[in-house]
Homo-oligomer: 77 residues x 2
DNA sequence: ATGTGACTTGTAGTCCGTA
DNA sequence: ATACGGACTACAAGTCACA
C-alpha cells in the first residue's frame, strides 16, 4: 500500500517489540480488533489521528514520535 | 467535539496564520474543499494520518510538529 | 473569507472466520 | 501468536448551497 502507512506501521511494530508485547496483546489494550492491529502494522490501512493517540498512549510514547519524517515520505503518500 | 481534534485544528490554524494565508488558500493548496478545511481547524472532524501529512507538507512543517503532546490530551480523546 | 447544514461516496474500523 | 480474508457498520472524505 502507501509508503506512509507502511512506515508508520513499522514504527508501531518496532516500538511494540521493544516493549516485548504481542500484537494481539497490544490490540487488546488498545481496544481494537486483533486483525485490525495486524493491518495497521503491515501498513494496509490509513489510521485516523485518534487511533494513533490510542496506540501511542498504550505504547507509552508520544504520538509524534511514531510519525515518520516528511522527508521519508516525499510527494506521494 | 473531541479535545484532540480541537487541539490539532488549533495548531493547524496557528501555523496557517503564521504563514499569512487564508483558510481557503490553504484548502486549495491541499486539494481539499474549503468547507472541509474549516471543519478541520474547528476540530469537528477526526482526520486520518494521510490528511495530516498533506496539510503539513503544504504548511512546510513536520507532521509531528502539529500534534499536541499526549499530556494535553489525557485519557479521553 | 468563514461557518454551517444536508447530503453522497469511500474507507476506517469491527467481527467473524481459516491457516 | 500472526497473516489474511469476507461481510458487515461507522464515520472520514468530499461536494454544494446559503448565510
Amino acid at each position: 500500500m502507501k509508503i506512509l502507512a507502511k512506515a508508520l506501521g513499522a514504527n508501531i511494530r518496532a516500538k511494540r517489540k521493544e516493549l516485548g508485547i504481542s500484537q494481539d496483546g497490544l490490540a487488546l489494550e488498545c481496544g481494537v480488533d486483533r486483525s485490525y492491529m495486524g493491518r495497521i502494522e503491515r501498513g494496509e490501512v490509513n489510521i485516523t489521528v485518534e487511533k494513533l493517540y490510542v496506540i501511542s498512549r498504550t505504547l507509552g510514547c508520544e504520538a509524534a514520535s511514531l510519525l515518520p519524517a516528511l522527508a521519508e515520505i516525499k510527494s506521494e503518500d
